[in-house]
């Protein structure tokens, strides 16, 4: 049960966004700017960072929905998403993405833990300043989203099919102008 009265049938952050549209708008725009693919990091890599940080924060809704979006971008590869969450160092991803996940892991715990050796390591794997910048901002922003979603005890469905179907829509349409239809099954 959410700690405050939220619109029914809207899981995780979606109920909060309907509840407070003024703050929802810039949050969605930030998510869209950070998570859509660019010439540097792909949308799949960006969603993997978001999923990884959400799993460190133990946010069921966030890691499930962004894990599903990541899987879609990566050719419906749910195993890769699971592998990154379980042990990204052993996962079948680039050394560059591993170096960015290491930085994201530190930002999750405390921004002050990121040191010059982490930055140099990422640069050695060909990460640009913009890619390092985006990894840090994704990790910081998702720590905010995760705390927002769990701090108000939002309803978070267990059914993985919900996240699969929603993840496909988000992967296709992005985070702007998302329709917030109540979920039929619980």
């Amino acid at each position: 049960m959410p700690h405050i009265k939220l619109p029914p049938g809207l899981p995780g952050i979606s109920g909060l966004m309907v509840y407070r549209p003024d703050t929802a708008k810039p949050m969605n725009e930030l998510a869209h700017a950070l998570l859509r693919g660019t010439e540097s990091l792909t949308a799949g890599e960006r969603e993997l960072i978001a999923t990884f940080v959400s799993s460190l924060n133990d946010c069921h809704y966030c890691q499930s929905i962004h894990g599903a979006v990541a899987a879609y971008h990566l050719g419906i590869d749910e195993d890769l998403v699971r592998a990154v969450k379980a042990n990204y160092q052993a996962a079948d991803i680039s050394a560059k993405l591993k170096s960015l996940l290491r930085i994201a892991e530190k930002v999750w715990h405390s921004g002050k833990e990121v040191d010059l050796s982490d930055i140099q390591n990422a640069r050695q794997q060909d990460a640009s300043d913009l890619e390092i910048h985006d990894a840090v901002l994704i990790a910081a922003a998702f720590s905010m989203f995760n705390r927002y979603v769990d701090g108000l005890a939002t309803w978070q469905p267990d059914n993985p099919d919900f996240y699969r179907s929603r993840g496909g829509v988000v992967a296709r349409d992005g985070y702007l102008n998302l329709k917030r239809d109540p979920v039929a099954f619980r």
Binding site: P26, L30, L34, S110, L130, I132, D134
Partner: protein
Amino acid sequence: MHPNMKPMFLADVEKNPKRSAQADVIRQMQNANSEYPQILHLFAYHPHATQHLTRFTRQVMREQSVLSEGFRELIAAYTSARNHCLF
């Protein structure tokens, strides 16, 4: 650079502010040889993304709410202190 300030980890972030209100402040502070917070560089680097954070902050901290602006700033200051973030 003011003697109290250290170079940032990401030189590109520090050297390439894009046109923004923050970039104007950075220039003024540098011309005056003043110490200034480097969060300004973060907001000037990639405004395409961070302009939304600026608007989010304004919405949460300044717009009409049952909580007074002073009380909202106290919550922000307390959380930042717990995170040991001096700025």
